[in-house]
């Protein structure tokens, strides 16, 4: 494969790689705030969309800081008694409900319909014990039909504990939930007209029966902003990115939260994923059985208010050709173990049966094709190939990019511009590439 590396492409790609690795490096953890006590402030602010729009929002800010959408991801340990103190800097009462958490007590504030509320300028305190690990959300319990739309929503991740210690690399106490990387996909939609009404103080004109979303978000961002780094400085109120990175055979935990008003059938390209939990409960037939009622999906219809945990792994098995592009040096058509014996070692985790099998079709000339910006120029994982000037260029390591997106395809647009909306990518990298999830 080396012979197809083009120096210029490589140089350009190195620059892109540096840009991609701009902020945080290391293994893929979900960005958020850990602890037991959280001070949140409900306040207003603005988010931006990739088409250049500024949208007025209400959101939960951490420790009186910047309004953010979604609210801070609260990462807590199973068994902890969690205190959430909400201070209201908005002109309307607000509150928080914690679906899936039992026995929430609230002090301060005033009684509300779904939760105790903080009037403007006041503070209300919620306390609950998180008994079960898993993926949850929190959101306003005050006019939720308006306030969730306005941005008062966030994720809670409860980490499993056994014998007083956190089990890292696992979503639940059972090993069926083991993962190498975990990613959050909090799905919402947004109707900018409502936000304009609220910003102009015309809240009484809001009609909950007439809502037409124009933007669809993952973790508060519409594509292609979903592919910007977490804590990207150009998106101060939308801190959470959603690029997914993994190597072949690594387990990726997808934590999907459907936080808006519409269902979003979430389709993961590349391979099937196993649904292991729903609303923070492992899909098990009896306690301790593991995720034995889990299903293999290629689309998870994330309906409003539900959360889903899935394990995704790309193995490259049964493809019928060698996706690393190994070739038999003898020219005799050796494959599998014979090719290894001829001096071509397997990559880590590579399926033996397809080792050194050539790609079964011949590719047409470049003028027959249009290339995507995430195409490496080569069909092989970890390889780069020649591309026409100006094409490709955003795939410096020759990874496989797989779109993970809402399959309600209307939602792949930003105010009538395609592509955008509820889509992100899994970047599957060669085993030798050190992952640096931005």
């Amino acid at each position: 494969m080396k012979h197809i590396l083009r120096r210029k492409v490589l140089l350009f790609c190195c620059v892109v790689a540096l840009l991609l690795a701009w902020t945080v490096t290391g293994n893929a953890a979900i960005s958020g705030v850990k602890g037991k006590t959280f001070n949140l402030t409900a306040k207003s602010g603005y988010i931006t969309t990739p088409d250049g729009n500024n949208i007025f929002m209400w959101g939960y800010a951490l420790n009186g800081g910047t309004m953010q959408y979604p609210g801070p991801t609260l990462i807590v340990n199973q068994g902890a008694v969690v205190t959430v103190r909400l201070t209201n800097q908005l002109s309307v009462p607000v509150s928080i409900t914690f679906p899936g958490q039992g026995e929430v007590t609230a002090t301060g504030g005033i009684p509300g319909l779904l939760a105790r509320e903080a009037p403007p300028g006041a503070t209300v305190e919620y306390q609950f014990r998180v008994s079960q690990p898993g993926t949850y959300m929190y959101h306003s319990g005050t006019r939720p039909e308006l306030q969730i739309e306005m941005g008062l929503v966030g994720a809670i991740i409860v980490r499993p504990m056994v014998g007083g210690t956190v089990i890292t690399g696992q979503a639940y106490t059972h090993p069926d939930s083991q993962f190498d990387h975990q990613y959050l996909f909090l799905l919402t939609e947004l109707d900018p007209h409502i936000h304009t009404l609220v910003e102009q103080g015309r809240m009484n004109e809001f009609n909950n029966t007439v809502v037409h979303a124009e933007y669809w978000m993952i973790n508060g961002r519409a594509a292609p902003d979903t592919l910007l780094a977490t804590n990207d400085p150009t998106l101060p109120s939308q801190p959470y990115g959603s690029i997914v990175m993994a190597h072949p055979r690594e387990k990726v935990l997808m934590r999907i939260i459907s936080a808006g008003r519409d269902p979003h059938p979430f389709h993961n390209h590349g391979n099937h994923a196993t649904l292991i939990a729903h609303d923070g409960r492992l899909l098990e037939s009896v306690p301790g059985a593991g995720a034995d009622l889990g299903e293999r999906h290629f689309t998870t219809n994330a309906v409003p208010g539900e959360t889903y945990d899935l394990i995704f792994t790309w193995t490259g098995e049964n493809m019928g050709w060698d996706f690393y592009g190994h070739t038999d040096p003898t020219g005799a058509g050796l494959t599998g173990a014979a090719c290894v014996a001829a001096g071509v070692p397997l990559e880590s985790g590579e399926p033996l049966e397809n080792h050194c099998k050539p790609i079964p079709v011949s590719l047409p000339t470049q003028d027959a094709l249009t290339f995507g910006q995430f195409y490496s120029g080569s069909p092989f994982l970890g390889a780069l190939g020649a591309l026409p000037p100006g094409e490709g260029g955003f795939n410096p390591n020759g990874g496989y990019f797989f779109m993970w997106h809402s399959h309600a395809e209307r939602e792949l647009t930003n105010f009538d511009i395609f592509p955008g909306g509820m889509l992100t990518f899994l970047i599957l990298e060669h085993p030798n590439v050190v992952l640096s999830v931005p």
């Binding site: 037939s285 293999r296 999906h297 493809m319 079964p360 995430f374 069909p379 779109m403």
Partner: protein, 393 residues
């Protein structure tokens, strides 16, 4: 204005086809083992198909001539005749792809261009929705790989994976091309169908000709007849804007032609092809479900709706759900998790395999329909959306 624009388009397209510059690219078909040029490989382990992608018109049950982008089957058509033969012949649903587990499948896609939109130069792809362990080059998602330009071909290869019901569609400018009709049924038949006569499957005796949804090992997914039912929904405001070269209403698209396999009731129960305004068969896939009392009917349900989640219901008969997303409903310990239901919700991109056991029902006509009641009609007709009939004789 409209007429003038239309004449303009015709002139442009004439100009385009008469004076187009010769390109190096051309229709090329890859089907290893095809020695006589009929598009079918003589090698029993190789399956081939050739699809053309382009535009055309569909005819809806109220007479609406809907402009579509789509696919048509040109398997066996000589390469130098594909460009002319396939023009304006596109179909909804796209031609059904039936593959056999473990075979080497070569799908050639040729882009014949869009006659009615000569201002567009859109490439096309086939996304093998749900095929496990994809490589980007054959995944058909153009941002991460490549798409096929007009007058050109590309051959996709898959070692056909696990049996079950999949979907295919074009992934180029996915919202537009999918709303415009580039959607089709795709399913994989299991190796268990090919067992020797008399093979015992855990108490169930297999006989030649028996068909199963999965390699179930116990005959529990046996069926007599199968029908693919694909939810496809079309928004006339989008299609009209497209043919009139207007900005496309993405957020405002409004599905007023909710269909099964590209037809609204009663066209769904027409056993023959629906012909479009040019006299071409534009909707070949009937949704009429017929069986003899006692037979087991497999419905391969899938949705490629671009907006809504749909609930399908049947009155008078239960569905046994045996698979979802091309996986048998069975836990790791081997326990079947099949369930009975008379309604099933599908979001876009999902598929289910359900079996109807007709041994306990009376002969007669039953209805399969969308419980999204607004989708039981189309723009101008009531009782003319996602409705079809199950006729038990």
């Amino acid at each position: 204005m409209k007429g003038r624009r239309f004449r303009c388009l015709i002139m442009l397209s004439l100009f385009f086809f008469l004076f187009r510059a010769p390109l190096e690219a051309a229709v090329t078909i890859q089907c290893p083992g095809d020695t006589n040029g009929d598009g079918i490989s003589e090698d029993p382990n190789i399956e081939c198909m050739h699809l053309a992608a382009g535009d055309g018109f569909a005819k809806m049950s109220d007479g609406y001539d809907m402009y579509i982008l789509g696919f048509t089957d040109v398997t066996g058509v000589p390469a130098d005749q594909v460009m002319t033969q396939a023009l304006l012949k596109m179909e909804i649903a796209a031609p059904t792809i039936v593959a056999h587990e473990g075979k080497n499948f070569y799908l050639t896609l040729s882009n014949v261009g869009m006659v009615m939109r000569p201002d567009l130069f859109d490439p096309h792809t086939v996304h093998w929705h749900g095929f496990p362990n994809a490589a980007t080059i054959f995944d058909g998602e153009p941002m991460a790989s490549l798409a096929i330009n007009m007058q050109s071909s590309f051959t996709y290869y898959y070692k056909v994976p696990d049996p079950g019901t999949y979907i295919y569609h074009c992934h180029v400018e996915a919202t537009e091309h999918m709303q415009m009709g580039m959607l089709g049924n795709l399913y994989v038949l299991p190796k268990q169908n090919d067992l020797a006569d008399g093979t015992l499957l855990n108490g169930f005796t297999h006989h030649t000709g028996y068909k199963y949804v999965y390699n179930d090992g116990d005959g529990s997914t046996y069926y007599d007849v199968e029908y693919p039912i694909q939810i496809q929904t079309y928004a006339s405001n989008f299609h009209d804007a497209h043919i009139n070269v207007q900005p496309l209403p993405f957020a405002a698209m409004f599905d007023d032609y909710p269909t099964f396999n590209g037809r609204t009731y009663p066209d769904t129960i027409n056993p023959t092809s629906i012909m479009n305004k040019d006299g071409n068969p534009s909707q070949k896939v009937s949704s009429l479900i017929t069986a003899t009392r006692g037979q087991k009917i497999l419905l391969r349900l899938s949705s490629l709706a671009t907006i809504d989640t749909h609930t399908l219901g049947i009155i008078g008969m239960n569905m046994k759900v045996v698979g979802k997303d091309a996986h048998i409903l069975r836990n790791p310990a081997g326990l079947n998790l099949y369930y009975q239901t008379n309604s099933l919700a599908l979001g876009g991109g999902e598929s289910y395999d359900v079996i109807l056991d007709t041994s306990a029902v009376e002969a007669g006509t039953y209805f399969l329909y969308a419980r999204n009641l607004n989708h039981m009609s189309n723009r101008t007709q009531d009782q003319a959306g996602m409705i079809t009939e199950i006729v038990i004789q």
